[in-house]
């Protein structure tokens, strides 16, 4: 029970510092779960990241799977709830506040500023996760190819997931 409480409290606190969303949080989450609390080893964490990416659904599923690993179904639900509730309440009111601003320049400014920060945080996180999870040149090449093709074509992301799975299956990655 105490591990469940610890999971809930730590993830709830994370929800309040998870600027840039769970994707931006992944390197921090990895550090907490693998290095500090020893809830999970790096390989399993990486695999859960892959499952969360491959499964249809939001990518905070890495957190759900972490909860699952620690305490089964209850752990999964507790982890998901913990990472979501503080920020959901915050965004609900903050969004109304921002939409309620009458001065269009002020509103635009907040949105432009937030967008710029988000871009920086998402790119940083991608970089740091790549360093933790990618092993070998082939993995980096695949990551770069995914970036290039998603930027310059309109292919559905699923194709790249399938391509990655097939390349991995035959031992290229």
């Amino acid at each position: 029970m105490s591990i469940l409480l610890s999971l809930f409290l730590k993830l709830s606190a994370f929800s309040l510092v998870a600027f840039g969303g769970v994707n931006a949080l992944l390197p921090v989450l990895l550090n907490l779960a693998v290095n500090q609390e020893h809830w999970i080893d790096l390989q399993t964490f990486s695999d859960y990241f892959a499952i969360a990416q491959a499964a249809p659904g939001p990518n905070f599923m890495t957190v759900t799977l972490l909860g699952w690993h620690i305490y089964g179904v209850i752990g999964a639900l507790v982890a998901t709830l913990a990472i979501s509730w503080p920020s959901s309440i915050l965004i609900y009111y903050l969004q109304r506040f921002i939409l309620g601003i009458k001065d269009p320049h002020k509103k635009q400014s907040i949105q432009y500023a937030a967008a710029a920060l988000a871009i920086g945080l998402v790119l940083s996180s991608a970089w740091e996760i790549a360093l933790q999870i990618n092993h070998g040149l082939a993995a980096y090449a695949l990551t770069l190819a995914t970036i290039a093709f998603t930027l310059f074509t309109r292919w559905h992301p699923l194709y790249f997931i399938v391509l990655g799975a097939v390349l991995g299956l035959f031992g290229f990655i």
Partner: protein, 162 residues
């Protein structure tokens, strides 16, 4: 349930590129608000878009609609993983997928970056954020504290320029 590869690229594709419910800049802005507020940005996005159409009920409905199915499915996958993770082929598949997953996250960032070239000074904020996070390894809260004053000043200028 069709959010393969994370919902973010899919959400952008559906809301902006296909249905054109939101413009690219609106999407970046809403996502920006959702990402500046800590927490899972897709849940935040669901709260934002849902409450825009139907208030608190809409927010609750879109969060539940977005999460319950996938959570169930992902736990089934976890059971499979527990049974078959020793297989080399499974390990390989997961390595391949995670390499692609990282790329998908990065490309979401790069797609949003395109809009910033209309006001290049803003790129300075992006660069500072990345340096603070990746080179100086500051905590996320600090990164935001350091970068946000400049972001607000430049955003104020950008809002008056465009």
């Amino acid at each position: 349930m069709s959010g393969f590869g994370g919902v973010l690229p899919w959400a952008r594709r559906t809301l902006v590129e296909r249905d054109k419910i939101l413009s690219s800049e609106e999407f970046s802005a809403i996502l920006g608000i959702c990402q500046i507020v800590p927490g899972p940005n897709i849940v935040n996005l669901a709260v934002c878009v849902g409450s825009r159409f139907a208030g608190a009920k809409g927010a609750f409905a879109s969060v539940m609609g977005l999460t319950l199915g996938p959570i169930t499915l992902v736990m089934l996958l976890a059971v499979l993983y527990d049974h078959y993770s020793y297989l080399d082929s499974v390990k390989g598949v997961l390595r391949g997928i995670s390499a692609v997953g990282v790329g998908l996250i990065a490309s979401t960032g790069f797609k949003m970056l395109r809009d910033e070239f209309r006001y290049p000074a803003m790129l300075l904020v992006v660069i500072i954020t990345i340096l603070a996070a990746c080179y100086f390894h500051l905590g996320l809260g600090w990164v935001v504290l350091i970068a946000s004053p400049l972001a607000l000043v430049l955003a104020w200028k950008k809002a008056h320029r465009l």
